[in-house]
Amino acid sequence: MIGESYRQKSENELVKASLEGDKQAFSEIVSRYQNMVARTVKGMLGDSVFSEDIGQDVFIRLFHSLSDFRGEAKLSTYIQKIAINLTLNEIKRRKRFFSTFSQKGNNEMFEFEVADSETEEKKEAAELVSKALMSLDPKFRVIVAMRMLQGYSTKETAEMLDLPLGTVLSRLSRAQEQMKNILRKL
């Protein structure tokens, strides 16, 4: 089967094929990384249609910048960087919009719809984490999302965000403090 052969291809092979105009290859890239992008974007922006749009933009941006991908880092890291940048831009845009046109608080800028989960318990869990994340300062939120939702180490997070390791460590400890206070209220 055609799909099966693409599933076995390496990242670099898929990138090369996509650059040559192979739609199936790019389709395989989207399939492989869409859940990872969803965790980052929805984890940081909340579960809403806007997050879906940002997710779509991530792959459009990826497609147009594939020729810049040198293969020195993993493709997942490259995609993750695009997702983080677009999400942070959206957070900034919303902050600007709400500070200009609305009196809403920081965490009201985001939506807490949670997609139907298997059980009520799981739905509650996702909702709790979503609310806690949205209440965090965005500079802490990105670090928490990378670690908690994607399982990246402190070193990987630092590389991904182009931040010194010390900065990530100090933000992580401050994020933990902030999270403690947030969870106490939830």
């Binding site: 779509q56 994020a175 969870l183």
Partner: protein, 117 residues
């Protein structure tokens, strides 16, 4: 997973010493994960490849416009050069008057031409 346990796990996952991969897997198991809605994959491909076609069309248009511009510009330059040569041959110089076709005219003849006296 009960809410107090979940809160504990969230805080533990942020410990510097914790294993982030393990904590993230446990949270995922507890239901803390997000996915895009059904049809996301197809929407992305539609958007990517329709945008791709638009970009290709735009690039082709700009390329065609450029080649047309160069042709017009080259023809224009060639016409100007020919005009200069013909002025030089006819008038014998390339002065400002000769550009205006006044190279061999006297002031009196211009006044006569304009006023009729």
């Amino acid at each position: 997973m009960k809410i107090p346990e979940l809160k504990e796990l969230i805080l533990r996952s942020l410990d510097k010493e914790s294993d982030p991969e393990k904590a993230s897997a446990m949270l995922e198991e507890a239901g803390v994960t997000w996915k895009f809605s059904e049809g996301f994959h197809d929407r992305v491909l539609d958007a990517v490849f329709s945008t791709g076609d638009t970009v290709v069309r735009k690039i082709e248009f700009v390329r065609n416009l450029n080649s047309v511009f160069y042709r017009i510009a080259l023809t224009g330059v060639a016409a100007i050069v020919l005009l200069l040569i013909s002025i030089f041959v006819i008038q014998g110089s390339l002065s400002f008057d000769s550009f205006l076709g006044l190279g061999d005219s006297y002031d009196e003849s211009i006044v006569y031409l304009l006023t009729g006296n």
